[in-house]
């Protein structure tokens, strides 16, 4: 069973989002997603300053098995991409909710964050997926 921290929000497409103290939202992919992808070999994180809409593909994660888009959970401006992933994509495998964060976004509207799935709903979605 994969780890689904209770204090984060989620998308059905397996991104997680965390509201930081400075009002920005950190985004990564869930433990379930990194397990399903297998060993990551490349991550393309977005450039700071880029405008994104909720649901827009704005990063790419590539594993030995597949390449997948990462979708933005909210509309806003990219504040940072995780530069460490350039040399160490495996951070997503080892620490998906910590050092493996992919981007930080300054949201236009925090209500979009509040409307994302909570841990229980995401776990339910995962359970529904496996049946």
């Amino acid at each position: 069973m994969s780890n689904v921290p209770a204090d984060l929000r989620y998308l059905k497409s397996h991104e997680w989002a965390r509201l930081e103290a400075d009002g920005t939202i950190a985004v990564g992919i869930s433990d379930h997603a990194q397990q399903a992808l297998g060993d990551l070999v490349f991550v393309e994180a977005p450039e700071a300053g880029r405008r994104v809409s909720a649901g827009e593909a704005c990063a790419v994660v590539e594993s030995v098995k597949a390449a997948s888009d990462v979708y933005s959970p909210v509309s806003g401006e990219i504040v940072a991409g995780n530069a460490d992933l350039g040399g160490q994509p495996e951070l997503i495998n080892s620490d998906p909710y910590g050092a493996g964060w992919i981007m930080r976004i300054r949201p236009d509207d925090k209500a979009q964050f509040a409307a994302l799935l909570d841990a229980k709903a995401y776990e339910a979605a995962l359970a529904a997926d496996t049946h």
């Binding site: 490349f42 393309e44 977005p46 450039e47 880029r50 590539e62 597949a66 390449a67 888009d69």
Partner: protein
């Protein structure tokens, strides 16, 4: 014998099984007015013997003309060993086999090819080739727009001195994918792209700058300054290069302070015959940092479970069988057989052999220019340094002059006046190592006569 596996009885049985009376009924959905009613202008079928005879008669009519035309495809000597190896059964395949378990020979050859192209271009990564030089440049432009993450624009600066066919293919392939191309003027005396032409684009978020070295006129560009300008202005630099010239000119990977981001071009000069325009192959090389945006196939060297070295396709997550519509290109194949020829050609010549081809071609072109510009009514268009082509200006329209030369068995060059009307009666000429001093003398005498006769008429 018809090469169709289904007999008339098979077809009747299949139609009966699905309740259709006639095969044509399967195409009912296509409106009547859109249907082709047979092919017009196609003569009745001929037997193999008749076709063979017709083709040898036509080939004989082509004859062997003395060729002084380049303009993107070049007549070089091809050692006989090249095509006798290429046409061996092991290589002579209708399609490139990529299965690592069955194709180590082909994969190793492609790997060697990539290594040679990487050495020639001075860039870390080469793909296994593309269709041709012009479509390769279109792919390079699409790639640069994806790879340049600092720029959100899709504007690309393209020299007017870039091969006009390439400019047309760029618009045809990439113009419909939202890229826009803006022309950089050339110096009317030197024939090179002017740096001042770039200045008006400073601060405009240009995604990439294309430069051809040598350019369509054969003139050498100031690639260092143009590369530096591109990088200072947040643009990527795409170099379109002649692979033969790379044996003597600075490789794109060393242009300016940081080197070109992508180098591409036409591979035909490396062991591929002119053969009426194709098939040829395109090559492309790039810096490591852009590899995931590169189109085409890439062969890598690895080890198997037992630690034995082997070759296999690599970085396939860029390709359409994995990334679907987000693949780096919808062309994820290569020109295997022509690349085989190029690899064998380069192995036989070696770095010194290729440098000799380049140096002798330059020398012959200098001699050609010297011989032709002594003729009244012929002068040199540009005084800049050049590789193995030059633009001449005639005192009268080029078309009739070329026609008169053709009557004497000479292909006198490429009439570029329709592409560059401002130049006047402009003729692009080329002499490679395959032209002798006698050939040049023959051309000079013929041109003298033709121009004198035209002046007297």
């Amino acid at each position: 014998m018809p090469f169709i596996p289904h007999t008339a009885a098979d077809v009747r049985a299949m139609l009966a099984a699905i309740g259709v009376r006639h095969t044509n009924d399967l195409f009912d959905e296509i409106p009547e007015e859109l249907r082709a009613r047979g092919l017009e202008g196609v003569p009745p079928a001929l037997s193999e013997m008749e076709v063979g005879r017709l083709m040898s008669e036509r080939a004989a009519r082509d004859g062997r003309r003395l060729n002084f035309i380049g303009a993107g495809a070049y007549e070089h000597h091809i050692p006989a060993a090249v095509w006798s190896i290429v046409t061996r059964g092991e290589f002579y395949s209708a399609y490139t086999p990529y299965q690592a378990e069955a194709s180590q020979g082909t994969l190793q050859l492609l790997y060697e090819y990539q290594t040679m192209m990487s050495a020639l271009t001075g860039l870390a990564i080469s793909n296994a080739s593309l269709y041709d030089g012009a479509s390769g440049l279109a792919e390079a432009c699409l790639m640069a727009v994806r790879a340049n993450r600092k720029s959100t624009s899709q504007r690309i600066l393209v020299p007017a001195a870039l091969n006009p066919t390439y400019r047309s293919v760029l618009r045809g392939v990439a113009g419909h994918q939202h890229l826009s191309f803006e022309a950089l003027p050339f110096d009317p005396r030197g024939g090179h792209t002017v740096l001042a032409g770039l200045e008006s684009y400073r601060g405009q978020g240009i995604a990439a700058v294309v430069i051809q070295q040598p350019n369509f006129f054969g003139t050498l560009e100031d690639v260092d300054a143009i590369t530096n300008w591109a990088h200072e202005n947040g643009a990527l630099l795409i170099g379109v290069v002649n692979p033969t010239s790379l044996a003597v000119l600075k490789p794109p990977g060393q242009w300016g302070a940081k080197g070109a981001d992508v180098a591409c071009g036409e591979g035909q000069p490396l062991g591929v015959p002119l053969s009426s325009g194709g098939p040829y192959f395109g090559f492309m090389a790039t810096k490591s940092e852009h590899v995931r945006q590169m189109p085409g196939r890439i062969v890598g060297r690895t080890v198997d479970l037992d630690g034995k070295p082997g070759f296999t396709l690599t970085l396939q997550a860029r390709e359409q069988h994995i990334r679907r519509s987000k693949a780096t290109s919808n062309i994820c194949t290569n020109q295997g057989l022509l690349v085989t020829a190029a690899t064998i050609y380069l192995s036989l010549l070696g770095p010194r052999g290729l440098a000799q081809v380049a140096a002798v071609s330059m020398q012959r072109t200098q001699e050609l220019v010297a011989a032709l510009t002594r003729i009244p009514g012929v002068r040199l268009a540009f005084d800049g340094p050049r590789f193995h082509e030059a633009v001449l200006l005639l005192d009268r329209p080029v078309g009739p002059v070329l026609a008169a030369l053709a009557g004497r068995g000479i292909v006198g060059g490429c009439d570029i006046s329709r592409h560059y009307p401002a130049l006047g009666h402009a003729l692009l000429v080329c002499a490679t190592e395959t032209r002798t001093l006698d050939d040049i003398e023959t051309y000079a005498r013929a041109l003298t006569d033709v121009l004198a006769a035209a002046a007297a008429a």
